[in-house]
Structures are given as structure tokens and as C-alpha cells.
């Protein structure tokens, strides 16, 4: 056989081949890498949410004074503050517990010291003569010769004036707001002494109190103010019986509830208010801690158990965090548990050496201080995101102040004692609701339009219509959102009747017109073949205009004069100006070009020989359309819809501007919603970096990513199935 060598590939050619391969490969890898990087970053931000909390003994310091009445620390945990019975406030280095400063506030001795609710820096002390005096502790950062130092100050309030407690006062509490100072004192014989100083200022003496005595049951009672000083809890420590008083002013207290904290006959061992005092944590010997919260009822606010947690060891002490709704429970077996109410989680636990006399969280809840006559233990806490759990994110949660467990997203509020509500369910619901209404509006129009354009429209008209609609996709959505929110929404609200009727009248009008049209002589019909859609435009405009101009007449006829109130009274649906109807129209318009364009391509791309094959078998145009064209184009139509859906889910500007952004869960067409994308846009700028809120926003971004990912993957799978079955291209 003659040997024959194939010509060698030229170097240049080979070089081009290799280079092209490399460049394309690099491009592909870069895309995947970029997506992975985004995913990786999202995960990296989100991951701390799922880290479990830890408690760890950092230091045990011996040799402290034995007369400490209260312990506290500064915000960054550099200084530990001890309030001592000798009338001094002692500041010690948090690291070494060496005294760095000691300020003698009073010459008399103190027997009790506590914080003035709801302030974090102000203390009230009771001295041996039952005088109450007030002071504020501040830690200021100073730079002296570029060296950072903390200056501690103790400032006596009200010109060092004091308030004389009644004789035999067993328990007292103080509340201060911007305007007034309230004090409650309870004596052994059951008298509750209520005092109010109005319009107090730090550097004026306390004078002219309003005072009022009311009688309560005798016993060992624990009496303290509730939220905004307007409530008073009066609890029998022994039996757990309590009375809830509403105190609009001290002169007019009113009992709103009398009940008991006893749990199945078991008396409580300890009661501690949670931050903001909207709830009380009630510990029991069985190890149960029950959260009782002020919830509104027909007769006003009452305390109600909303949650219970079991620690399986008898509870001796409860102490709550200063800035969150978390608390620590210390059992009689000397175990300290860290727990959180909203997420209903016991997060960590640690064994203590001795039962503590005093327990306090540092302001940031990153340390737990336990004091036991001369010994101070510092327990370090890593617990950045206790409020998050799978259940809290997706399930119903019984929040403070609510009558029942709910799904709610409410991430921030002006109040510092606010319980953040991080349920993603309303956002997911809102996202799907917006997409759902948009798709209901868009799919019929876009797909039917695509079918018509691809099959029946004349080539000349198609050459205008197709690019025209595709250009709509380039319209910035912020403009659509702006128009929808500020122009369309008020119009729809004012002309609700006709807008709703348009959805009925226009299709009927089209059908009627089509019937009339088909009766015309075939010469006329044929002369407009393929342009009949254009003839429809004036018909639609006229119909729409007619409907709109007879709005009031129609409203009188059908809806007793006002569709909006009819919807509310008869159907029972509330009406927001920016609602799902607006979103359906505006976002529908935004996704129509996408769906239309892809679907039209798919339908138009159905090979003519298939169409002819069907027609040659005696199929009508309509039968061919349904049985061959749409079937063959179905993978394309399906992916058009899915891509449109993906766009609707991720669309931000329109929903941001035209939904009202209320995270409610209601399918009501006439109410708004808040979507993931809008939520991120609204809240990200105001979110504190690395806070739970911040990380949850990233989580919602990931969820959004996953939704689109899942939908796209599902769409791709279905599309491939369809394509292997029906595809022909």
C-alpha cells in the first residue's frame, strides 16, 4: 500500500487553536469562579448565624470586697464597676481586677442598689435611713498624649436630693422617662406607695411629688414597673399570685389582671423581667422557665404565658441581657444556662463553682459576671446571633405583645427594647405573590401575543412589533416602578370599577369585534390579512376609554357607587393604594418582553415542514397550532415563562416603588407585599454590619439566589425533557 502522510497542521493554525481553546476555557472558568465567589461570600457572611453559642470561664478573681451590692461593667468590658455598701463606687480593671478608681458617693451606708428602669447607666441606692438617692455612672474615653484612657465618673442626680421611703418598705422600684420619675415602695403591711415627680431634670432637686397609697395583699411581694412605667407588676414571691396594675398616673392606678404564675400548682422560684419589661421570665423548681408577656386583649393588656423552656434543673436565678431578649438561668445545681426567648433556644451551659449572690451580664452580653462574697468569676460568652433559628426564620413565632404566634418581618424599630421579628416567610410569600400576579398578567398576554405574532401576523407588521416589544425590555424598571407607584396607582384607586371591568370588557369586546369582523365581506378581510391586530388597537383604546369615562355610572350600577368601599364591605378585602394589582400590571409589563421574545422565537422557529406536514393531513390552522406548533415550541415557551418568572422574583425597583413594602401575608389582590429583593434594597443601607439583621439580609439574598437557582434548574430539567420529547430544532 502506498504510504501517505497527512499534511501537518501549521504552527500558526495550531497556535490559534490552542489560544482559542485557552481563552474560551478561561472565560468559562471565570464565570463559574465568579458565581462560586458570590456564593462563597454569601455563605461566609451567613455562616456565623449557625454557629452555636459558647460559654467559657475566663477568670476567677479572689479577694474582692464582701459588701458588693451590684456589679456592672462598661460597654467594651474594660472596667468592672462595683457598687459597695460603704457608699462607694469602685472601678476595677476587667483584666486584673485591680482597683483603678474609687469614688465615694455618700457618707452613709447603702443597703440596696439597683438600676433605674429603663436606663442602663443610672442607679438608685437605698441607704440605712431608707433614703433613696440617684447617681449616674459614665465611662468616657479620653486621649491624653495620644494614649487612650478611660475616665470613670459618678454624677449624683437631682442635686443630691433624696427621697424618703415609707417605714417598713420591703421592696421598691424606680422608673425614669424624659419627663418624670416614678417610685413605687411596698411595705410589709401591704401598702403600695406610688410617687411621681413630674418634669424632673438631672440638676434640679426632687420636689413636689404626687403621692398615692393603695392597699394590696400582705406578704412577701415583689413590686416593679412595667413598660414605659405605665404598668406595675405586683407579685407574691411565695405563691406566684400576681396583680397587674395600669398606672396612667400615680393618682389613678387600676388593677387590670389578677392571676398566678403558678404552673400546674407549682410555685415559681424566681421572676425576672426581660429587656423592656414587656415580659417576665418565671422560673420553677421543675426547671421550667415560662415567659409571660403583656398581650392585648379585650380588657386591655394582660399577662399571658407565651412560651416555656425546660432546663431540667431547679431554677435559682434568672438574669436578662441588657440589649436583647436573652437571659441566663442559674440552677440550684449551679449550672448556668444561656437561653434566648424569640428563638426558644437553650444555647449553652457551664458549671459554676459556687452559687452566686449577684449575677450580671456585661452590656454587650459577651460576659457573665458572677459574684459570691469576695469571689468574682468572669465567663466569656460567644453568642452573636441567638435570635436566629430555623423555626424563628421560617415558622410562626409567638412574639412579645402578640395574642398568638405569627409570621412577621419587622427588623427594627425606634424602641431600644424592641424584639426584632425575622420571619422570612412573609418575604417569601410577598416575593411569590408579586411574581404570581405579575405572571397571571404577563403569561396570557405574552404567550398569546407570541403565538399571534409568529403565526398570524403579516411579515411587515411583525418586523415592527417584535423589535418594538423587545425594546420595552430595555426600559429601566425604575421608570416602570415610578410610573406604577405615582401615576398608575392613584388612577387605579380612583377608577377601580372601570379598571376591574376592563379585564372583562376588553376580552369580550375583542371577541365581539372579531365576530363582526368575520362577517365582513371576504374582500375586506383578505385585504387586511395579517394586519388585523392593528385594527384592534383603536377598538381597544375606544373600549378602554369608554369604560373609564363611565366609571361613576358603572360604579353606581354595580358597586353601590364606590368599588373600593364595596370591596371592603362586601368582599371584606382591604384596599391599599399600592397593591398586587398595580404590581401585576407594572411587573407584568416588565416581564412581558422577556417572555414574548423567547416564546415568539420558539414558536416562529418551529420548522415550516412540520406545519405543512400537519396541514397536508387535513388539519386546520388552529389544530396545527395546538397540536404541532405549540407542542414543538413547548420547551421554548416553558423556558420563556420560567425566565420571566425568574425576573419577576428578582425584580427590585418596581416592587420597591409600587408595593408599599408592607410584609403582610395576604393573597388579597388589593394589598401590597414586601419581596426579598425590595427588602434587601430597603434595609441593607440601614443595617449595622455583622449584626443579626445584616446577616439575615445576606441570608435572604442567598434564599433569593436559591429560589432562582432552583427554578432555573427545574426549568432546565423540564425543558430538556420536553426537548427530547418534542424538540425538533
Amino acid at each position: 500500500m502506498a504510504s501517505y502522510t497527512l499534511p501537518k497542521i501549521s504552527d500558526r493554525r495550531r497556535w490559534i487553536n490552542v489560544a482559542t481553546k485557552r481563552i474560551i476555557g478561561a472565560g468559562g472558568v471565570a464565570v463559574i469562579a465568579a458565581i462560586l465567589l458570590i456564593m462563597g461570600y454569601l455563605f461566609w457572611v451567613i455562616l456565623p448565624i449557625f454557629e452555636s453559642a459558647t460559654m467559657e470561664r475566663l477568670a476567677v478573681h479572689q479577694g474582692l470586697p464582701i459588701d458588693v451590692l451590684a456589679i456592672d461593667s462598661d460597654d467594651s468590658f474594660e472596667t468592672v464597676t462595683l457598687i459597695r455598701a460603704n457608699g462607694a463606687v469602685e472601678f476595677r480593671s476587667a483584666a486584673t481586677l485591680d482597683v483603678v478608681n474609687q469614688i465615694t458617693v455618700s457618707s452613709s451606708s447603702w443597703v440596696e442598689a439597683k438600676r433605674v428602669f429603663p436606663l442602663t447607666d443610672t442607679y438608685v441606692v437605698r441607704d440605712t435611713n431608707d433614703q433613696l438617692s440617684f447617681f449616674r455612672v459614665t465611662h468616657q474615653v479620653r486621649y491624653i498624649d495620644l494614649e487612650r484612657s478611660l475616665i470613670q465618673r459618678v454624677e449624683r442626680l437631682f442635686e443630691a436630693s433624696s427621697f424618703q421611703l415609707p417605714e417598713n418598705t420591703e421592696h421598691f422600684d424606680a422608673f425614669r422617662s424624659d419627663e418624670d420619675l416614678r417610685i413605687v415602695a411596698r411595705t410589709i403591711d401591704g401598702t403600695i406607695h406610688l410617687v411621681e415627680f413630674e418634669e424632673v431634670e438631672d440638676d434640679f432637686e426632687l420636689e413636689f411629688p404626687d403621692e398615692n397609697d393603695i392597699t394590696g395583699p400582705q406578704g412577701d411581694y415583689y413590686t416593679f414597673f412595667g413598660p414605659r412605667g405605665r404598668f406595675l407588676y405586683d407579685v407574691d414571691r411565695k405563691s406566684g399570685a400576681f396583680r397587674l396594675l395600669l398606672v396612667p398616673s400615680v393618682m389613678r392606678p387600676r388593677i387590670v389582671q389578677t392571676a398566678s404564675f403558678a404552673n400546674q400548682g407549682e410555685f415559681p422560684t424566681v421572676i425576672t423581667p426581660l429587656l423592656g419589661r414587656h415580659s417576665l421570665m418565671v422560673g420553677h423548681d421543675s426547671g421550667m422557665v415560662v415567659q409571660w408577656s403583656l398581650t392585648s386583649s379585650a380588657s386591655g393588656s394582660i399577662l399571658r404565658p407565651i412560651r416555656s423552656m425546660s432546663f431540667e434543673e431547679p431554677i435559682a436565678t434568672l438574669v436578662s441581657e441588657h440589649r436583647r431578649k436573652g437571659f441566663a438561668a442559674i440552677s440550684k445545681e449551679r449550672t448556668a444556662f444561656l437561653a434566648y426567648t424569640t428563638s426558644n433556644r437553650v444555647l449553652a451551659e457551664i458549671e459554676l463553682d459556687k452559687p452566686p449572690q449577684l449575677v450580671a451580664f456585661s452590656p454587650r452580653a459577651d460576659r457573665l459576671l458572677t459574684y459570691n462574697g469576695s469571689t468574682l468569676s468572669v465567663i466569656g460568652i460567644e453568642n452573636a446571633h441567638p435570635e436566629l433559628s430555623w423555626r424563628a426564620l421560617w415558622g410562626k413565632v409567638w412574639y412579645e405583645g402578640y395574642e398568638e404566634p405569627i409570621y412577621s418581618w419587622q427588623s427594627s424599630s425606634a424602641d431600644t427594647d424592641f424584639e426584632p421579628k425575622f420571619s422570612l416567610t412573609p418575604l417569601l410569600f410577598g416575593t411569590l405573590k408579586a411574581a404570581f400576579y405579575a405572571m397571571i398578567f404577563a403569561i396570557p398576554l405574552a404567550v398569546a401575543g407570541a403565538i399571534y405574532t409568529a403565526n398570524f401576523m403579516s411579515a411587515g407588521m411583525r418586523a415592527w412589533v417584535k423589535p418594538g416589544i423587545e425594546i420595552m425590555a430595555a426600559l429601566p424598571t425604575v421608570i416602570l416602578g415610578f410610573l406604577a407607584g405615582l401615576w398608575l396607582a392613584p388612577i387605579v384607586e380612583d377608577h377601580l370599577t372601570s379598571v376591574l371591568l376592563c379585564f372583562i370588557f376588553l376580552p369580550i369586546g375583542i371577541l365581539l369585534f372579531a365576530t363582526l369582523w368575520s362577517r365582513l365581506p371576504s374582500r375586506v378581510i383578505n385585504s387586511c390579512d395579517g394586519w388585523s391586530a392593528a385594527i384592534l388597537i383603536p377598538v381597544l383604546v375606544l373600549l378602554g376609554w369608554l369604560t373609564l369615562s363611565f366609571d361613576q355610572t358603572l360604579a353606581n350600577l354595580l358597586f353601590d357607587g364606590d368599588a373600593k368601599s364595596w370591596v371592603y364591605t362586601t368582599v371584606g378585602l382591604e384596599y391599599d393604594q399600592r397593591n398586587a394589582l398595580i404590581i401585576g400590571i407594572a411587573m407584568g409589563l416588565a416581564v412581558i418582553p422577556t417572555i414574548f421574545s423567547i416564546a415568539e422565537d420558539a414558536i416562529y422557529g418551529v420548522p415550516q415542514h412540520l406545519v405543512h406536514g400537519s396541514l397536508a393531513l387535513g388539519a386546520t390552522r388552529w389544530q396545527t397550532l395546538v397540536r404541532v406548533v405549540l407542542l414543538t415550541a413547548s420547551p421554548g415557551i416553558f423556558s420563556a415563562i420560567m425566565i420571566g418568572f425568574g425576573r419577576a422574583v428578582g425584580e427590585t425597583m418596581i416592587v420597591l416603588m409600587a408595593t408599599g413594602n408592607t410584609p403582610i401575608m395576604d393573597l388579597n389582590l388589593f394589598q401590597g407585599m414586601r419581596t426579598f429583593a425590595a427588602n434587601i434594597a430597603v434595609e441593607m443601607p440601614e443595617s449595622e454590619a455583622n449584626s443579626s439583621h445584616f446577616r439575615i439580609l445576606f441570608l435572604t439574598a442567598l434564599v433569593l439566589f436559591l429560589i432562582t437557582f432552583i427554578f432555573n434548574t427545574a426549568a432546565e430539567i423540564v425543558r430538556n425533557r420536553l426537548r427530547t420529547r418534542y424538540g425538533n430544532l
Partner: protein, 289 residues
């Protein structure tokens, strides 16, 4: 290249001069045109001209197609065979630029009359296209498609019809176990037989076959030819073919088209043995490309 077919006939796939074939099928000799009676005529074409825009594709064609006979149309590529075939079931209507003049009568009825339901016409005049065009559906659904269009029909009857059509298209043995698989997975030749099965499943009166065997191997080809021969008893068949032997074997009458003109139209025997026109003879003997 010469291929031995089953019967030992030599069969040329190019247009090379051939010895005069004796139509195997012609047990009963087809009557010559002057012997045709009126009731024998199925399709009557008079003065048919067709233009695609400005380009004329058919000029002044007049011919009669005899009922229950096979009529072959031959001619060089681009001479208008497919175009003429498409006139019979008005498939040319789908091409925007087409302009037609002249008359075509099917069983005495003008097919271009405004009262004619084109879909019904096409049911009666079935067509197999030059290129196989199975639907992206299962084999079964492809064959059942046309039957289903005519209304609901019991499953068993439909099954029978599908089987009948597939058997007649010489496809049944190959696909009986994979009726529910996609038709797109079939070979080109199988697809061609499938579209034939699809066309005969609706049992039209007239069957238009545009090069039905162009993609087939000799065995399938002869099966198709047998099929044509069988179908002749019930249907009027028009077949376009580039294969002279095939035309000679299967048809009773042959028309030779050249540049849009019907140059000669007579019994197959005459056309192949004793054509009156020089052009016809040249074409048959392979003097055209």
C-alpha cells in the same frame, strides 16, 4: 454503480439509459388516453399556470389524472414537479408570493372554489413530502395524528388503523416494539416510511408522493413500490420520482415536465418505449444532466 435488488433486476440509481421495462404490476394494461372515459378521470387540470412572484414555475399545464391508477411525474430538478403536486392539495396557498391561474377539478369539483374547505380537501388528497417531516411525537402518535384530527375514535380502532398503515408502509416489523418512542430517533429511511404511513392512515382518495423512495434502500424501496401497487386498487396516486426504473415499474401513466411545461403525457409504456417528443427521449435516455 449497480445494485442487485431482491428480484435480481439490475437497478440504476443514476439516470442512465435503460432497457425497456415491463411494468410487473401491469397485469391489466392501462388504457391509452384516447380510451379514457369521463368517469375514469379523477383530477382534471386545465390551463394551470403558477408563478412564484415574478418567476413562472408552471405554464399552461393541462392534464387528466386517471382514477385508481399511478401517474408518475418525471423531469429534471427544478422543473416544477413538486410545485405541480402541491397544486393538487393547495399547499401552494401557504406560500405568500404564489399566483395561480387555471382550473383543477377533483371529481368534477373546482378545488379553488371559495366554498371549498381546504382542510377537507387535504384530507382527501394526502401528500408525502420530498423531505421526511415526522412530528416530534411518538411513532404511534405520528401515524394516529391525521386520524385523530377527524374526531374521536375508539382506541382499538385507532390501534388497528395505525398497525394497518405501518404494515402497508413496510415499517411495522421494525417499529412494533417501539411505538411509543420518539419518531425523531428513527433513521431517514424509516422516517420516510413513517410519513407515508401517516399519509395513508387517513385513507385519502388521492395520494401525492413526492420522491417517496429517495432516501430508501432497495429493499424498502421495493416494499414501497409494492405498497403503491396495492394502494392503486383504492387510491389515485401521483408520484414524483427521479428514478426512471421506478417510474417505469410502478406507474401506469407518466408525465414529463420540463421548465414548467408538461412536455409529454401518456401511458408509461409509450413514454418509455416510444416518446413522441425529442426532449422526453433525451431525458429518459439520460442526455440531460
Amino acid at each position: 454503480m449497480t445494485i442487485e435488488n431482491r428480484d435480481g433486476d439490475s437497478m440504476n440509481t443514476t439516470n442512465v439509459a435503460i432497457e425497456v421495462p415491463v411494468p410487473q404490476s401491469a397485469v391489466e394494461v392501462a388504457p391509452a388516453p384516447h380510451e379514457w372515459r369521463d368517469e375514469d378521470i379523477c383530477i382534471e387540470v386545465s390551463d394551470l399556470s403558477l408563478a412564484y412572484g415574478e418567476t413562472a414555475a408552471l405554464t399552461n399545464i393541462s392534464m387528466q389524472v386517471v382514477r385508481q391508477r399511478v401517474t408518475a411525474l418525471i423531469g429534471p430538478s427544478g422543473c416544477g414537479k413538486s410545485t405541480l403536486l402541491r397544486c393538487f392539495n393547495r399547499m401552494n396557498d401557504l406560500i405568500d408570493s404564489v399566483r395561480i391561474s387555471g382550473r383543477i377539478e377533483l371529481n368534477g369539483m373546482e378545488i379553488h372554489a371559495p366554498t371549498v374547505d381546504v382542510a377537507q380537501l387535504r384530507r382527501r388528497v394526502g401528500m408525502v413530502f420530498q423531505r421526511p417531516n415526522p412530528f416530534p411525537k411518538s411513532i404511534y402518535e405520528n401515524v394516529a395524528y391525521g386520524v385523530r384530527l377527524q374526531g374521536r375514535i375508539p382506541k382499538s380502532e385507532l390501534d388497528d388503523r395505525v398497525e394497518w398503515a405501518l404494515k402497508n408502509a413496510a415499517l411495522w416489523e421494525e417499529v412494533r416494539d417501539r411505538l411509543n418512542e420518539s419518531a425523531l430517533g428513527m433513521s431517514g429511511g424509516q422516517q420516510q416510511r413513517l410519513v407515508i404511513a401517516r399519509a395513508i392512515a387517513i385513507q385519502p382518495d388521492v395520494l401525492l408522493l413526492d420522491e417517496p423512495a429517495s432516501a430508501l434502500d432497495p429493499i424498502s424501496t421495493s416494499k414501497i413500490e409494492e405498497l403503491i401497487h396495492q394502494l392503486k386498487t383504492d387510491y389515485t396516486i401521483l408520484i414524483v420520482t427521479h428514478n426512471m426504473q421506478q417510474a417505469a415499474r410502478v406507474s401506469d401513466y407518466t408525465g414529463f415536465l420540463y421548465l414548467g411545461n408538461l412536455v409529454e403525457y401518456d401511458t408509461t409504456n409509450i413514454i418509455f418505449t416510444n416518446p413522441t417528443q425529442k426532449q422526453t427521449e433525451d431525458y429518459i435516455t439520460g442526455r440531460y444532466g
